[in-house]
């Protein structure tokens, strides 16, 4: 199974509030995990990726952080949200042993007001 769970599905938060988005995946152990943001229903921006527990790589400097406390859990966080953090956040996993193919979760729609 390549099932990926994301919650919440929708979130409306005020500027300056904290954020925690959670992603859990099913399937074999030690998958590569990814966080993307999609703005205005268009292109994908890779935010973070992880090749193992506690290993996080950041693609772009910004107001967000990520953590991987368990093998199949990937969390996206912020201490203080900005208006520009609004968007559609997608979690993805690499296919086991064939890392190049990615499978995506259903996404979280974040609106910062």
């Amino acid at each position: 199974s390549q099932t990926i769970h994301q919650w919440p599905a929708t979130l409306v938060q005020p500027v300056g509030s904290p954020l925690s988005l959670e992603c859990t995946v099913e399937g074999t152990s030690n998958p590569n995990l990814y966080w993307y943001r999609q703005a205005a229903g268009r292109g994908l921006q890779l935010l973070f990726y992880s090749v193992g527990i506690g290993q996080i790589s950041s693609e772009v400097p910004q107001n967000l952080s990520a953590s991987r406390p368990q093998d199949r859990q990937f969390i996206l966080s912020s201490k203080k949200l900005l208006l520009s953090d609004s968007g559609f956040y997608l979690c993805a996993r690499g296919r086991e042993r064939v890392y190049n193919e990615q499978f995506f979760g259903p996404g979280t729609r974040l609106t910062v007001l």
Partner: protein, 116 residues
């Protein structure tokens, strides 16, 4: 620099007609190429991939893609479009410099509109 280009923001076709969504790439070494589809407010769904072998790759929902090395292209095609094919389509290529991280480089997406 590695990149993926989808030159058309939107493609309009009539139902029953063939469709093509264009993608060109620039990557070092042999390319690993992918197509994904996204319906509104949903995650991306994998359609097909080219790793090696036959240049014509068949995927889900009747889609296929043709790998052309000399033109560095990987166009998505379908012989007969359905209204339900209307969605946002992304082409992607493996980041050849990323080792085992599995990172992909995505194009900006092409909106396919199929009219009845």
């Amino acid at each position: 620099a590695q990149s993926v280009a989808q030159p058309e923001d939107q493609v309009n076709v009539a139902e029953g007609n063939p469709l093509t969504v264009k993608c060109t790439y620039s990557v070092s070494g042999n390319p690993y190429l992918f197509w994904y589809v996204q319906y509104p407010n949903r995650g991306l769904q994998f359609l097909l991939k080219y790793i090696t072998g036959d240049n014509l790759v068949k995927g889900s929902y009747g889609f296929e893609a043709e790998f052309n090395k000399s033109q560095t292209s990987f166009h998505l095609k379908k012989p007969s479009a359905l209204v339900s094919d209307s969605a946002l389509y992304f082409c992607a290529v493996r980041d050849a410099t990323s080792g085992n991280t599995g990172k992909l480089i995505f194009g900006q997406g092409t909106t396919l509109q199929v009219k009845p």
